[in-house]
Assembly symmetry: C2
Homo-oligomer: 362 residues x 2
Amino acid sequence: MALDNPFYSPQMQGPYTLQSVGRFELEDGGVIPDLQLAVATYGELNADRSNAILIPTWFSGTHATWEQVYIGPGRALDPQKYFIVVVNQIGNGLSTSPHNTDDPSIAMSKFPSVRIGDDVRAQEQLLRETYGIDRLALVVGGSMGAQQTWEWAVRFPDKVLRAAPIAGTAQNTPHDFLFTQTLMEAITSDPGWNGGEYASNADVAAGLSRHADIWAVMGLSTDFWKTEFWRGVPPLVEGQGWDTFEEFQDRFIRFLFSAMDPNALLSMGWKWQRGDVARNTDGDLAAALGRVTAKTFVMPIEQDMFFPPRDCAAEQELTPGSELRVLSSIAGHFGLFGFEPSWMEQVDTNLSELLAAEVDGR
Amino acid sequence: MALDNPFYSPQMQGPYTLQSVGRFELEDGGVIPDLQLAVATYGELNADRSNAILIPTWFSGTHATWEQVYIGPGRALDPQKYFIVVVNQIGNGLSTSPHNTDDPSIAMSKFPSVRIGDDVRAQEQLLRETYGIDRLALVVGGSMGAQQTWEWAVRFPDKVLRAAPIAGTAQNTPHDFLFTQTLMEAITSDPGWNGGEYASNADVAAGLSRHADIWAVMGLSTDFWKTEFWRGVPPLVEGQGWDTFEEFQDRFIRFLFSAMDPNALLSMGWKWQRGDVARNTDGDLAAALGRVTAKTFVMPIEQDMFFPPRDCAAEQELTPGSELRVLSSIAGHFGLFGFEPSWMEQVDTNLSELLAAEVDGR
């Protein structure tokens, strides 16, 4: 029986609809008998279906941050101009996930391994079958959303006119693999995790807290902490602000990750570790990226501790018609949360330019 | 009764002598009834006692790496010219530490909190009482050794002619505090740690392994892993080399940290988190660094994930007569291990120049 976790409710995340893509066979051999994708849309699809934008989600993230921070009138991601579809990734707690399914064949510890390619194939099917979309004006995503963006551009080059992978790579690096491993070990080392068969995420509170503590180190930057930038971050719960960095760590980072489902984080972690577009080309990364026909802006964050610009630049150089656009945020990787006004200025400027760019012959 | 741990034996670490500085009262209120410092010396003290160099050790480190990598004829740290004293920090497993004392008042979980200032006072007493040294030609150390180097230059300015803090700060940053916390949580979350009352470090194998895995992420650099630099690192045990990054992680990083004592790592971690020369000046960092009269080369490592050059540069700018000398290593912080010939070239060039520098009026 599915576990109740209010963090993933529409009350917490904002409205979304569950859309079935039916029985779904996974690249690693497993099957999800009835794959439900949690989808949120903004704006209207135009008559010739040429104004669709797809946004896949990041690790631990949902459509909510995109709705609250990135999408709005006057922004590059303007629902008055575009039909914007945010698809929550498989296993993120909203789409079919270990804790929210009633199907005993895939519940909890039995949840099958899901890869980036599975998400992208499921999204392609959803867009085609539900909306009749066979060409995207833009695919944009951050972090694991960037992994999916890259996979879209390589796997379905004819369907992607423009691509904007932000703070993520096409081929996961060994360093990232090891980093994700520490995040996963923080959870699985908690006896309360019980091999994935816990009764409530609260049983894994200690592991989720340690998981959050690693994010505090790797997700942000030394400058974020040193300059006490957190003083300007609004509290998550009214009256529960912070006067010290320890309080910010506890009431923002631990608070957020402790609300999540451990198996969902592990499912996404396993997927993140193995993101690799070269699976489409027998391991040849240059060949994979050489397939890309989208106009592509590769957008790493300067202070990112685990997707540093040099790793993203190496992939950009292998991608025809791409440009490197380095973003800056004192928050490092968590710049994606949009803590700073300057963040959205940079994102909007780049995405607006990308969306305005003519795409040859298409 | 002291625990037997062969990692800390002279067979593993090379020769050292235990020298007592007697009953030692600690800044945080505890007492070590008979503080033994593990000391290794190289070269001869000259007649006017003007050729002494002090090297304090880093987190998890001992005198052995200094002996094997940094000290030798023809190097800047030349035992034919200098009397070089490497003092293992308190709690490092060789000097008096939780696991190696027979005194029940301080054994294991009862080991008192030790601060950087305690190490520096104990070293000063040792040098004065044992060798009659009251002036050091140079203090040089890496990481927590840099913390001690800074503390020496601030606390005993008349005794330090030259200082070279490598890859470490005078005042620990919040980011570093949080990073060290994850290292400590990896150990204390292991039920085998048992509140510090284990029978053998093997009881804490899982925690030590997770501790090592965090080092694999933060201690090295994305480039170290991506370029497979580890292929050129010689095996620790003959015949136990590596063909994959997972094997290197297991047979080098986990192997090394799993041999250590958990309580020793925790004692050093607590100390590292609180390193702060401004404790000498009521919290005023500028006033503390303003005390420094040593000729000082501040030497961060460009790719260091947790002591980045910008944090070290900020302190250098507050230090009279200092210079910033940024070192480069693909290994990031673990560049300190001296994996690359180019590492020792940089260190030797800078230390030779520093040792040749005239020090005004002294």
